[in-house]
Symmetry: C2
Subunit: 359 residues, 2 copies
């Protein structure tokens, strides 16, 4: 089924409204999810909508949060999300970071007591629209083992850096710090296929190619996969995300991060409040004139894109380029939804007395 952007946006906004969000919050939360679907990151768009609803039903998401700045300096702040949707808390934090950057050159906000914030790229790209460099990261429920560990202690803890270019789309590095995303495992599970070595380990910590290993006590591996290939670096990056997002803000970190799935309860010995994010913005013209920066970033893009390639039919991919291409295509042609997601959304429609109409 293919649904137009506007129909899916409308439906999604109305679900959030039915959950008790204000109109403004419902619009914003829908915008974050729809942008993910537009950009081809199907795992983080409306596919997550039932997940948010279930957390709300469990009273783990507050749809009328009093989001507060609890501490600040001219260029730093800590925000308490009051258990709100990360989809609205993170944009609040990013706007604050941008206001600080507008005034002082840069702004940095650590966030506690939040929930899943969608794609990191959404938040970082807010800054790019104002000729700023955007940063966004979040911790997440533990699915990844540090190097040498058989325990799940870290989330897939994504990092995003976004840079405004001139005649080209922004460069957007938006990546989980694990070797493979959970979504790729789910695809392999559905197809009954094995996964490559280096994505996951079994309960005993041994490498495995069984995509179901994660569900039976195994773990995802950090970027780098094994010590010989630098998995301690993926672990280090993931640790950095955890510390900036949660140790700095007063959120839960490591194995204490509450699970996204509603059927698992949060740990009963929390070390902080909710999950944590860290966002930031730096004005490009705090360093050099914007047009100079953009001209050179365009030159950077051209040089890398035209690089000699290993295979003639596979060019070098500039970070963010496939997502921009998807966004243009899907805005024009609609958003494809697999049957499982259509069923999920129809279930929500029924629950809230709404309808999902395709175009």
């Amino acid at each position: 089924m293919v649904v137009s952007e506007s129909a899916l946006r409308n439906f999604t906004g109305n679900i959030f409204l039915a959950m008790g969000c204000s109109t403004e919050h419902a619009r914003l939360a829908a915008d974050v999810l729809i942008r993910s679907d537009l950009r081809g990151i199907d795992s983080h768009g409306v596919a997550r909508l039932t997940g948010y609803v279930r957390l709300w039903e469990k009273k783990r998401i507050n749809t009328t949060p009093g989001i507060k700045i609890v501490h600040q300096t001219p260029t730093t702040a800590t925000v308490d999300g009051d258990a709100g949707l990360g989809l609205v808390v993170a944009p609040f934090a990013m706007r604050l970071a941008m206001e600080k950057a507008e005034q002082y050159g840069s702004g940095w906000v650590s966030v506690r007591n939040s929930n899943h914030f969608g794609i990191a790229g959404y938040h970082a790209l807010m800054a790019v629209e104002k000729d700023m460099i955007g940063f966004a990261m979040t911790n997440a429920s533990p699915l990844v083992s540090p190097t040498y560990s058989s325990e799940r202690l870290l989330g897939t803890n994504p990092i995003c850096y976004a840079f405004p270019a001139g005649k080209y789309p922004p460069v957007v590095v938006d990546m989980a710090t694990s070797a493979a995303a959970n979504g790729k495992l789910e695809i392999a599970q559905r197809l009954g296929k094995q996964v490559p070595e280096g994505w996951i380990q079994g309960k005993d910590g041994k490498s495995t190619t069984d995509p179901h290993a994660l569900k039976s006590g195994g773990a995802l591996l950090p970027l780098g996969s094994d010590p010989e290939h630098g998995s301690h670096k993926g672990f280090g990056l993931s640790a950095t995300v955890d510390i900036l997002s949660a140790v700095l803000s007063g959120a839960n970190y490591g194995p204490w991060v509450p699970p996204f799935v509603a059927f698992l309860d949060p740990p009963d010995d929390p070390v902080g409040a909710g999950i944590g994010h860290f966002v930031g913005a730096m004005r490009v013209d705090g360093f050099r004139p914007v047009d100079e920066f953009k001209t050179h970033l365009d030159n950077w893009i051209e040089r890398f894109r035209s690089s000699a390639t290993i295979n003639p039919d596979q060019k070098v991919i500039i970070p963010g380029e496939p997502e921009t291409a998807a966004e243009i295509y899907r805005k024009a042609n609609g958003i494809p939804l697999v049957d499982a997601i259509v069923n999920d959304l129809n279930g929500l429609a029924e629950k809230f007395g709404l309808i999902l109409i395709d175009h």
Copy 2:
């Protein structure tokens, strides 16, 4: 040969003095190199000294630089290193970032017209001493191919994040964004051994285990090694370092970065000045009280260090822990130097009419 810290520091400082550095710069440059040797990062310590001397002989390093702030806002700045040693230019930039952080909460400095800055950890740790979070990164001569490319377009572009803990040593994530460091290839070359798949590719872009492939037109691979294991993420991180360090400051980027080795000339069509760095500092108490942060970071460290392990004899390693242990040991017991380095240093001693005395 084992040399005491003080003897090696003295010798190294005198070499920089003989190159024309001021006493202050000679002390500082020696401090950066010796700290690398103390922390067990032998590839970036006095092992590089002959490299700096050769670049100076080629007039590519200016030992009496007029380091200048060319642009700034309250929390951002661009510094021109006047072709000075990165070993003195980067600490200048870091002090500036820390002054801004002291006043406004955070400070960020992009640097152009510099040279190799030693270990990123040195600069990031300057901030930690003042209860700030430290960031340091640099671009470097092209040795790494982006995913799908057969060209070398990026350096090993290291990133460092450093965090002050309470009763434990700081957490220091200091990592090249390539799968393996060049130093590891050199060891394999000396021993006549093959290297693992996933470290390098040959001139044709095909994976190889021949450690000499890098010298015959091959390239190091980004962290993640291949597309299936997330090499586009390593590429994205390396691109981020290149953009923040050079596109933002006006340094050379990508394939235009001048080589560290003096026998290769810099490209004759530069896109900027020298190599670039990016450093930053954020006051911990810009987000939450320092003692709260440190208590929670200690708790984080304890939880990760005591994690269940795959093998009983290999605990989880907290980032920075092995380097701190090396620093304590080598301060007490001296710095071991392999014969090749001793020969290098004796060659320098002869050139400048100095002596290297062991303890």
